[in-house]
């Protein structure tokens, strides 16, 4: 049985080890990002040099100008914004209504319907991409927003999380709403949605992030550069002439990552709540 002093003596080195570990973790996570930022400002001769040069000689934006001139970044940004806002918005709507139906409405095959929704989580995108590509192509949806958005629109994870949340809501509120004679549509938007705001915000942020970063599907259905989203368009900077121009490529990468990083730092509480929601309920 350890005495008071022996535990106290043990705590000191443990604490120090803890800080070292923390510092190491932070360094590993942050160094590549810093490297990217700095490279965005470097001229060719500052990049192709041994030993490596950490800081650029000057912080001019010539690489950014070159990236913007080489590919239509404004279009990428617009396309990403449109597909993300519409895609994530509709997905939330579908998730909320489906979860409401599964929890509060009567239907003979309710369990089956919910099972159908949840089982979809186990079906990887790559397995359905050839039939979906064929369908989208036959509809003439190649290089269109609906072609990018619609096939991935259904809400499985969101429905699952909203259902978990709805099951915890106090019955009294709904009974009051029912006595008021409110329709189910009104009950959902006037009573359920407001008291579920934190959960909805968390799930919304997660679906916004994943829509924004979506890569494989937009890569398949878009081949015109003016219809590309940011992740797809970014790769255009990669192989212009065989030799990678790291300065320009890193400037482009900064343009893609920085909006997300800013949003993440500003809204991290909600985003982290959204990420953990699945884990805690699961």
């Amino acid at each position: 049985m350890p005495t008071q002093t022996s535990t106290a003596r043990r705590r000191k080195p443990l604490q120090l080890g803890g800080y070292l570990g923390l510092l190491l973790a932070i360094a590993v996570m942050i160094l590549p990002l810093v490297w990217m930022f700095l490279a965005g400002f470097k001229e060719r001769d500052e990049i192709y040099t041994v030993p490596i040069q950490w800081l650029p000689d000057s912080y001019d934006l010539s690489n950014y100008a070159a990236a913007l001139a080489a590919v239509p970044f404004a279009n990428f940004f617009l396309n990403s914004t449109i597909t993300t806002v519409i895609g994530a918005g509709l997905k939330m709507l579908l998730g909320l209504t489906t979860a409401y139906a599964v929890v509060f409405l009567e239907f003979p095959f309710k369990k089956f319907v919910f099972g159908l929704v949840v089982f979809a989580l186990l079906v990887p995108q790559q397995i359905v991409m050839i039939p979906n590509f064929t369908l989208v192509a036959s509809l003439g949806w190649i290089n269109t927003y609906q072609g990018i958005i619609v096939p991935g629109l259904a809400s499985a994870f969101g429905t699952f999380l909203f259902r978990q949340h709805f099951l915890t809501l106090p019955i009294s509120i709904l009974e009051a709403a029912a006595l008021d004679g409110a329709s189910h549509w009104t009950r959902l938007w006037r009573f359920i949605v407001p008291i579920s705001a934190p959960t909805i915000a968390a799930v919304a942020l997660i679906s916004i992030v994943s829509e924004w970063n979506e890569y494989l599907w937009p890569l398949l259905v878009v081949d015109r550069s003016d219809m590309m989203t940011l992740p797809v368009g970014l790769t255009l900077l990669q192989n212009n002439d065989g030799v990678t121009n790291w300065g320009v490529l890193m400037a482009g990468t900064v343009l893609v990552t920085v909006p997300v990083l800013i949003a993440f730092f500003a809204l991290q509480k909600r985003i982290i709540a959204g990420l953990t929601a699945g884990g805690v309920t699961g």
Binding site: Y19, M29, I47, T98, P124, Q126, Y215, L219
Partner: protein, 327 residues
């Protein structure tokens, strides 16, 4: 109630004991039928209005293509071509007999085990670290999770520069300890290691976050009781905390396996499956065969095999782990 039940039993003599639900249908006491009967009908319709669109989308874009993919796997069919030749199990036979298949399966196994297993171990370490009362742990948590929300393509590209064998950070660090940089770009094995590292860097924050949430729900007095009993920290952790993390580990094992098997962005941005197909996982092969080589039938066969494996592994995980996990 008893009278209705008796009545029911009389008319349908040999039928099993009636439950309240199947009582109501055959013997409808007229008095309350109108209301009770009208309401479910309305509710069903509403249910279809509320859940229908989502279910319809799932059927059109998930379940129907899943079956279609199964059918395509029996065809010799090039993407975009109007004609296809039925070949039965020919694509499957071809895949199993292809000398490259052993390599693809090996690469997939190494990538999956390393990213899922490595991710859980490192993620748990980070979580334990973040759970201690250290200054700056909030900031550390933010930094550790940040890469998870970034685009996989962007992450792949920025790491490609980090790994540059001549002008990258890893080359500089290795040079400092007198080691030459491995040929990350040109050697199939090192390329696989590189892709795994980047995948871990991007995704480990998620695992850490979930483990951290679980650790924070471990009752403090349980740990204090253990330390009073003289349990050393390591042993207290192994005997008390780890079993409590069982459900979390189970959840993570499924979700991280699913996302690892689907990973595409990083491989596409960094190696495109090369060099010498050293980073071609089954997922990447499905993409390559279907959309680069245009062999849609063959690609669908590989997809079907992978889906079958995924389903079996997930079911085993659920069956096996559920028994061992203390809920």
């Amino acid at each position: 109630m008893p009278t209705i039940e008796d009545l029911h039993r009389d008319t349908t003599s040999a039928v099993a004991a009636p439950t309240p639900t199947n009582v109501a249908t055959p013997a409808p006491p007229r008095a309350f039928t109108p209301r009770k009967k009208k309401k479910p009908w309305k509710s069903w319709l509403l249910f279809l209005l509320f859940a229908g669109p989502n279910v319809a989308l799932l059927i059109v874009f998930t379940y129907k293509p899943l079956l279609q993919s199964l059918y395509y796997s029996t065809l010799q069919w090039n993407l975009g071509s109007a004609s296809a030749i039925p070949v039965g199990l020919g694509n499957y036979v071809a895949w199993f007999n292809d000398p490259g298949t052993v390599r693809v399966v090996t690469v997939t196994l190494i990538f999956t085990v390393a990213t899922v297993g490595g991710g859980m171990v490192i993620g748990l370490l980070f979580a334990v670290l973040l759970n201690r009362k250290l200054h700056g742990r909030g900031a550390a948590r933010t930094v550790i999770v940040a890469p998870y929300v970034l685009s996989g393509v962007a992450v792949g590209l920025l790491w490609l520069f980090v790994f540059d064998p001549n002008f990258g950070i890893t080359a500089a660090l290795l040079d400092a300890i007198g080691v030459a940089s491995p040929p990350w770009y040109n050697d199939p094995h090192w390329a696989l290691v590189m892709v795994i590292i980047v995948y871990l860097w991007k995704n480990v924050g998620y695992v850490a976050l979930i483990y951290l949430a679980a650790l924070q729900s471990v009752p403090r007095d349980l740990l204090e009781a253990a330390s009073l009993d003289g349990a050393r920290p390591m042993r207290a952790f192994r005997n008390i905390v780890l079993p409590l993390l069982g459900p979390t580990t189970f959840f993570l094992s499924i979700t991280t396996l699913l996302s690892s098997l689907q990973s595409f962005d990083i491989i596409q941005a960094m190696t495109k499956g090369g060099p010498l197909e050293g980073t071609t996982t089954m997922m990447y092969q499905i993409y390559q065969e279907g959309f680069q080589a245009g062999r849609a039938g063959y690609s669908s066969a590989v997809a079907t095999i992978l889906f079958a494996v995924l389903l079996v592994v997930t079911l085993i995980q659920m069956k096996y782990v559920e028994k061992r996990v203390h809920y």
